[in-house]
Structure formats: structure tokens, C-alpha cells
Amino acid sequence: MSRLTRFLALTLALVLLAPMVAVPVAVAAEDVKIALVAPLSGRWARQGQLKKMGAEMAIEEINSQGGIKALGGAKIVLREADAGDSVEKAVSAAQRVLTREKISAGIGSWLSSFTLGVTEVAERLQVPWLTLSYADNITERGFKYTFQTSPVSSLQAEQALDLVVEIGKKNNRPLKKAALVGDNTAATVFFFKPLREKLLAAKGIELVADEVWTPPLADATSIVQKLRATQPDIVFYGATNFPDSVQMLQKLKEFNVKTIIQGVGAWLVTPEYVKAIGKENLDGIQTVVAAHPLKGQEALVKKFVERTGEPFMTQDPLCTYAHVWLIKEAAEQAKSADPKAIREALAKIDLTAGPAATTLYPGRIRFDERGRRVGAIPIIVQWQNGEPYTVVPTAVSTRPLASVK
């Protein structure tokens, strides 16, 4: 046998034997891959960045605590894909990330319109998908792989309205006139729809202005002019695009329109608002969200702030943090990284302890047959002195609700 042949034979033998030696180890520690499809570029990139921060924090915690124990200490790794600024881009990002390699579960995609598209891909490829998006129809399509941890938009509308009506009565300033002001992205549409169609009328509140636009908004003058003319007691507010929202709030101040602003979504409580509007102009603005730091979560928030340099923690990192922990729990229970097994585990899960459950109020995670979290309750957050605080439910509030001047 020539030297070359011997070398080739040896190489071949090594190549053939290597997997046999390596396989048991590799299986034991095979990474569990979670996809995060979120806008990392385009006009919602900031929200994607916040989501990523939350996911990374949870992954670091899980991996440093020994990974997924049922899978021999398997580590979790994040595969992020940029949903960009359109539904088409979000869908193709999901397609790419889910077909390139085996993904155990996915998270995303912030904007309800994106989530509607992305979950179709996940359903087709049978990968369980966790989302914080609000739109009702995300879980009205009979999908088996979509899990919505947030209270849906229509429920948020109902509860937010109940609350503001109650506060109005208590302060002896009953609400008589309301306005709907926001863009036509899915979560806002579903928040406004029940208000417009039945809820406001049922409470005897007159709808005096109904202004909806497609982002970006060229100028807010005409809207604010209408508000000035009609003088609503409350504005239900859904401007998810930051520059649009800044324009609106600046104009309200410029035209000296005083009203209660009740937002829908965590986009209204991001730190950059303080710089853009000034904290004195934010005071009293409130918004309904799916999650916000509660009483007792100070340590988590402190850790997040130290890690990221953000001034405070909001829904987007919180929910993604909870989602990663939830996937971890599902993988533990399924004893598998297989997406179908994780889907089964999620469908059956009933968590009452651990980081995922404590993050998502009221502290219990289970899903109904549509994939909606049972008992999910919206949180109301209010800007007070340049920081957003949980004000409702009062049992877990970090500040009492301040009345709007």
C-alpha cells in the first residue's frame, strides 16, 4: 500500500468513525434554536431591538443556569431574522429562518400586521410561535401553532374604557365625548373597532372625531384642529410610528388641546419619548399594554437596566424574556427540542411559577384551544415625571394613578 493510499484510508476511517464517537456528546448538548423574527430595520426597528434585548437576557440566564435539563443541559441559541418594514419582508424573513435549519420555536413579530403573516409561515412549517401582538384575528384563524400571550385588542379596548369611565366618574368629570386617533396597523384597528361600533355608545359617550391614517403622517395639524374644535374628554390613541406620534403630541401642546390621552400599546412608553416631547408634556399620558414591570419585579428591571443601559424596562423586552423562558419550560416538559413536541407541551402547559409566569400578569400561563392565554389581563401604564409606571391593576401597581390636569 502506498503512503498516499494509507493516508487516504486513514482519513476515510477517521471521517467514518468520528460521528460515532462524537454523536452521543453532540446529541446531549445539541443547541435548541429559537427564531426571533422582529423588525430590526425600518421604522419599527427600535421595537425589534428591545425585543432582542429581552430574549438575550433570558437566554443568558437559562444557559448560565445549566440550559435545558431534560435535554442534557442543551443550550438555547437565538436565530434572529429581520422583519423589516413590510409584511412581505416579515414573511420572507420567517420563511428563511425556519427553513434554513431546525428551529424548535419562534417568537415575533411585534406589529400585529407582521405577526399575521409570519404565523402563517410557522403554521405551515409546524413550528410553535409565541407572540405579544394584540390583534384579535391572530388567534381567530384556527391555527394550532400560534400562541398569543397578550390580551387581545378588543379586550384591551373594553377594559381600558371601563377604567377611564370609572376614573372619570370618581373625579367628577364624566366622559361625554371621545375621539379615536391613530394609524391603520392591525392592533390599532382592532382596538378602535369595538369602541367605534358599540362600546362608546353603550357607555353613552359620543364619538366626536375619528381620524385614522396610513403611516407616515405628513402633518398632524388637521387632526389637532379637529380635536380643538370638538374638544373630546378623551382621545383613544394609536400612533405606532414614533415620528407620527411625536408630531401629534407636539401639535396637541402647540394648539393647547387638553384631554386625557389613552394609548394602546407599548410604543407609547419607550424612553425616547422623554427626549422628544419633554417629560412635563408626557405626564399623565396613559396606555394599555400587555406587560409592564410590576410590583416585585424590581430585581429583574435592575438587571435589565444594568445590562442594556436602557433607562427602564417595558413590554417588548419583558414579553420576549417571558417567551424564551416559556419555550424553555415547554422543552423541559416535552423532553424534546422537536417543534411538534414543544407545540404539544405549550398547548397543555399550566405554569404558575418561574420567570415566565411571574412576568406575565396575573402569574399563570395556559392557553385555550385557540392559542390565547387564559386570563390575560391588560396593564395600564402612565407617564409620571419622565418614567412609565404600572398604575392598574392596583394590586401590582408601582405608582398610584395620577389624575390628568
Binding site: S41, Q49, D85, V212, P216, A276
Partner: protein, 297 residues
């Protein structure tokens, strides 16, 4: 509708249009003189916003002054970008040469600038929050946003300065000569390539200044360009491709149409008004408002 309300819509439209106008003349200048369709124009505007922001944060310079101060560095940047990239794909003013290459180049530049800015400066929106951004001058029943009024006035001054430069100075005349007939201009001793560099520099500097003015009331983020680039192109084509006064008027018209559309259509259809007006103008005057017949679109 009360007359005062109508007047408010008109005034708002004019103020919004003023900054569109300044953005658009840079684009028109570059197209008019170099025959280059600069898709990256909006991204240079975004960079101008950031420079004005850093002037304000680091040196405490008011954004209106910051906008003017961003003109020299962006002029130089424009010269460099032209020398490094554009000069390779725009041939001596020959309009038929390598149009596709320069389209791909400017589109590529746009993508690189947006994404590099997102990576380096993060997607977090930043704001200057100038005190006059949420204040208004009250003129009778009308309210004129202060930031927009100052921006409008500055835009008007800059546009007038560019017009005077192009029509009154030798360099301006050389620029126009290089645009009208590059070959003849060359025979007259005008260096067409240098003129192109100067045109690109001025075009970039103007849009950066417009960005600076915009930054006094609009948040700054890496992808801010997408909100404006289409309107810039509409303004330039509306005014007549390559015509500087045309682009200025085009910008103002867009602002007015956006505002007045709201009298007839719901808010969601604001930009539909712009494009309908655009189509009507092109149907009636295919060369645009100020375009010459030879440049029919």
C-alpha cells in the same frame, strides 16, 4: 367651512411644502446637471439630520444654525462621493451612457448608508426637541408652528441663494453650460467632470441642510428617508425634471395638496391626493410645470 379654517389648511400646507421644496431642489440640481437619479438623496438628508443633532447635543448649536453649518461638510462629502463612485459611472455628461450603472450605484449607496447607520447609531430615534417645535405664532385666528415657520424661511433663503448662484456667478453659469451641452462646455474650457462634482456637492449639501431644518421638529432615525424620498421625486418630476424653480414649486405644491386633500378626503387618503394631482399635471403638461419640451417625461 370658515375662511379661517381654510386659511389654516393653506398655511400648514405651505409650511410643510417649504422643506419639501428645499429637499427637492438638491435632487433636481443633481439630475439637471449630471443626469443622475440619486436614490441616496434621502439618506444624505438623514445624515444631515444626525449631524445637526450632534451639533445640538455636543456643541449646543441651535438646529437652524446647525442646518446651515452642515452645508460645508456635506459639500465636501458630495465631492468625495462623486470622485470615488459616481465619476466612474457617469460619463462626461453623456446622458445615454450607463444609466443603469448609476441607478444601481445610488440605490446601493442608499442601502449601505441606511443599514450602516442602523448598525452604528442603533435604530433608536433621537430628537432635538427645540423649544419652538411645539410653539406657534398666532396670526389672527391662524397658528403657525414656529419650527416650521423658521424652517420655511430658511429654506426660502437657501433656495434663493442657489438660484442667484446659478444665474449670477461664473461658476453657476459654467454648471448650467455643463448641463445644457457638455461637449460644447468642454470646448469652452469648462471641466465637465469637476462641474459634476460641484453639482453633486451642492445637491447633497442642500438636502443635508433640509434635513437639519427638519430635525428641529422631526425625530431622527436611520430610516427616516423612506418617508420623504418618494415625495422628493414627485416634486422634481412635477416641477419638470431638472428644473430648479420647478422642483421648488413642486415641493410647495405637494405640501399644499397634502394639506388641502384633507378637506375632501379622509386622512388615510392624504397621499392619494398628491399622486392624483401628480397624474393630472403630467397628463396636462407631460414635461412638468417648469420643464422644457425636450425633457418630456
Amino acid at each position: 367651512m370658515a375662511a379661517s379654517e381654510l386659511a389654516q389648511y393653506v398655511v400648514t400646507g405651505l409650511l410643510v411644502g417649504g422643506v419639501y421644496a428645499l429637499m427637492s431642489i438638491g435632487l433636481a440640481l443633481i439630475f439637471g446637471i449630471m443626469r443622475v437619479v440619486n436614490f441616496a438623496q434621502g439618506d444624505f438628508m438623514m445624515l444631515g439630520m444626525y449631524l445637526t443633532f450632534y451639533y445640538a447635543v455636543a456643541l449646543g448649536i441651535d438646529p437652524l444654525l446647525g442646518a446651515l453649518l452642515s452645508i460645508p461638510p456635506f459639500f465636501v462629502l458630495g465631492l468625495l462621493v462623486h470622485r470615488a463612485f459616481l465619476a466612474r459611472v457617469t460619463g462626461g455628461g453623456d446622458p445615454n451612457r450607463e444609466m443603469d450603472a448609476q441607478l444601481i450605484l445610488t440605490l446601493g449607496l442608499s442601502l449601505v448608508i441606511t443599514n450602516a447607520t442602523t448598525m452604528i447609531l442603533s435604530p433608536m430615534p433621537r430628537s432635538i426637541n427645540a423649544p419652538y417645535a411645539s410653539k406657534a405664532f398666532a396670526v389672527g385666528p391662524l397658528l403657525l408652528n414656529q419650527a416650521r415657520t423658521y424652517s420655511f424661511a430658511t429654506a426660502l433663503l437657501l433656495a434663493a441663494a442657489v438660484y442667484a448662484f446659478l444665474t449670477r456667478t461664473d461658476l453657476g453659469k459654467a454648471l448650467r453650460a455643463a448641463a445644457d451641452d457638455p461637449e460644447a462646455a468642454g470646448y469652452q474650457g469648462i471641466n465637465v467632470r469637476t462641474m459634476h462634482g460641484v453639482a453633486f456637492g451642492i445637491g447633497i449639501a442642500l438636502v443635508a441642510a433640509a434635513g437639519g431644518l427638519l430635525a428641529s421638529y422631526h425625530p431622527i432615525e436611520p430610516n427616516v428617508a423612506v418617508n420623504f424620498i418618494v415625495l422628493m421625486f414627485v416634486a422634481v418630476v412635477l416641477g419638470g425634471l431638472g428644473s430648479i424653480p420647478g422642483a421648488f414649486v413642486g415641493g410647495i405644491v405637494i405640501g399644499l395638496v397634502q394639506s388641502l386633500t384633507l378637506l375632501l378626503l379622509p386622512l388615510q387618503l392624504q397621499n392619494v391626493g398628491v399622486f392624483v394631482a401628480f397624474l393630472i399635471v403630467l397628463y396636462v403638461r407631460p414635461q412638468g410645470l417648469f420643464g422644457r419640451r425636450a425633457r418630456t417625461v
